[in-house]
Symmetry: C2
Subunit: 386 residues, 2 copies
């Protein structure tokens, strides 16, 4: 922790850095190597997807068969032998149903028992009294702790109709092509606000066990930078369980991050690989941060102090969860550079962002706004990550 703080906050003077976007990036449980690579709750680890149209031949080349993730003869990604398209379909049918049926249940307080609940609904291909017909194989959709996650979504200001259903279930989910080494599959909602990630059995179990502590943190540490967990589900198909977590996208593309750092507070082998550096928008690491930003980042005194306090509180919680290998994801939006980009985009007529109309604000608070404790206005900028 002290290393983390010293690398972030030593002599913070850097005038042109005007928007730092931060969030914790949980990646591993202490002492449980089997779960290590899988607990990648990060939402910005994998490269953000390009505009929908570009998910073609280039992304196929990057696909790899790792763990449960595979590729079928047609070139489509699979997870535990279920095709990505069937998985996406089941996710959308399942979430639509579970959020819809929750809306008929009266509001009530979350109880300790609610964290252990699992609701289940069967989706036969031909449809049923409760579920619509579909074109995939029969599947069962299970919702972990529905009442608890409804509470979390409310705490995060997500209204069931306007946001979760619209964002996740009315528009296609986008598969992230560069899903990293964990063998997980990542999807992002069309509006770029939600990430859906496959998790292993143990990870889902672990997350469910953490929910009471997570609840307590949300009620005490309002500015927490921990990932926002919106739902935990399991799709049972073809005798396999595919578990999924829905979280916030830490770095939605609405604000272009010119620099990204994944900081662990360690200097041991903490430099981005040559391969990572070759990317258009690499995620750098601690040693790069030290080298590139010798003066650190400039934060206003109040924000600096609030951020330090929040990181301390978050770390205390992570420590209590016995999670030790997490990182702080720092995104830097360079205002000066953004203005230049905007100007050059205006010059090239016709260039538009296909994912978010210009001028549209991100739906939910950014981490920086959370740190500041208020939803300050944010400049609306076109973004192009591809």
């Amino acid at each position: 922790m002290s290393l983390l703080r010293s690398s972030l906050f030593t002599g913070v003077i850097r005038q042109h850095v005007e928007h730092a976007h931060l969030g914790h990036h949980l990646s591993r449980r202490a002492g449980t190597p089997a779960e290590a690579s899988g607990f990648g709750m990060a939402t910005a680890g994998p490269e953000p997807p390009g505009p929908l149209g570009s998910l073609g031949s280039t992304s196929q080349a990057m696909k790899k068969t790792i763990g449960h993730r595979g590729i079928d003869p047609t070139g489509e990604t699979t997870y535990k032998k279920t095709t990505s398209s069937a998985l996406k379909g089941a996710i959308q049918l399942g979430i639509t149903h579970t959020v819809g049926s929750l809306s008929h249940k009266p509001e009530r307080d979350v109880l300790m028992q609610d964290f252990e609940v699992m609701e289940s609904i069967f989706f036969p291909r031909e449809g049923s009294n409760l579920t619509p017909g579909h074109h995939y194989s029969d599947f069962r959709f299970k919702t972990y702790a529905p009442i608890a996650f409804r509470y979390f979504r409310e705490m995060f200001g997500i209204r069931p109709d306007d946001y979760l259903v619209c964002s996740l279930c009315s528009e296609p989910l986008i598969e992230l092509s560069n899903s990293g080494a964990s063998g997980s599959l990542f999807y992002v909602s069309s509006d770029d606000e939600f990430i859906i990630k496959t998790v292993q059995h143990k990870e889902a179990e672990f997350l469910q066990k953490l929910l009471p502590g997570y609840f307590m943190n949300l009620n005490q540490n309002k500015r927490t930078l921990l990932p926002k967990f919106y739902g935990l589900y399991c799709i049972q198909a073809g005798g396999k369980n595919i578990r999924l977590v829905v979280m916030n996208n830490l770095l939605p593309c609405a604000v272009r991050m010119h620099l990204k750092y994944d900081l662990k507070g360690s200097t041991y082998k903490r430099r981005a690989s040559a391969k990572e550096r070759d990317k258009a928008f690499p995620t750098y690491k601690d040693l790069d941060f030290r080298q590139d930003l010798t003066d650190g980042l400039l934060l206003e005194a109040d924000n600096h102090s609030a951020l330090c306090k929040t990181i301390q509180r978050d770390c205390l919680l992570l420590q209590s969860f016995k999670i030790m290998d997490y990182s702080l994801l720092v995104g830097v939006h360079n205002m000066q550079q953004a203005c230049q980009e905007q100007a050059s985009r205006v010059a090239e007529a016709g260039a538009t962002d296909q994912r978010r109309p210009p001028g549209q604000k991100p739906l939910y608070n950014t981490a920086m706004e959370a740190i500041q404790g208020e939803a300050g206005g944010m400049p609306s900028l076109d973004t192009e990550d591809q």
Copy 2:
């Protein structure tokens, strides 16, 4: 629950009733008769003590040897063979120490693990580096979940220095003479705000297990009428463990309650006994309520609706705790009668309340203020319960 509500809120018209004071009175766990009589978390079940000076010969006559509670040859109450005076001394030394040592620990968020913590400090008669000398036998003072209870006290607006220490530890504790049939010993603080009650091993264990759910309730159900738990302690002396819970006094004497009802929502044998009715200020039961207040109690529409909602939420929590035998304690302050009493007291010159200077407000919110969701002003009245 429906019975409870119907008996309370059917046709509520009663103009002269202007202050109803309510609170849940937990008394028993479902299906565990061994703990049944002991989980009397009520704070107004036993008769409030009279002014300090009156605790003399009359109270001795009412003492009974029940369970762990006994009387020694000098006539002093004992609990597990420890005299009441030694117990009071140990309580005050222990709480002073534990609250004092907490104040040196930095504020931090409560974690799930904090509910299971038990801190222990030894008080040798001759004193130690950490503890003062005293005139009782050596004892050990254990504090359950100190960080969690610090959080609860803060939630309840109790500052460590001004309230807990002053109320509980600087002035003598008053032993309640009419401690009921549970075999528990009750103390009230001199300012009449706090109740200390001995609890059995199983009860202390049970309460500690409930703490996470209690935490969740406080964060969601701000107007809860459940008892306020301020601390749970254990005094180890002479090879015996004496466990104590500190709670709010539901009906502090600052506001005189002209009528008191202990309502369970049942009509089976729910009439105050002849012995109870003979008391100066009896606590009546459901059948008495129905008979005496045929039109119920008048509450403003907003308060009525808030109260119903709060009772529903409280009951849901109690149900989740598998507690079924609780009651709603209703205190009625009759404004008209109070004015008459005040007038007659003014007429008799020299009559003063020894426990609270006239005009002093109770320190903490009343249940009615909690229902209303604001700390409204309350008329200050002299009270005489003896």
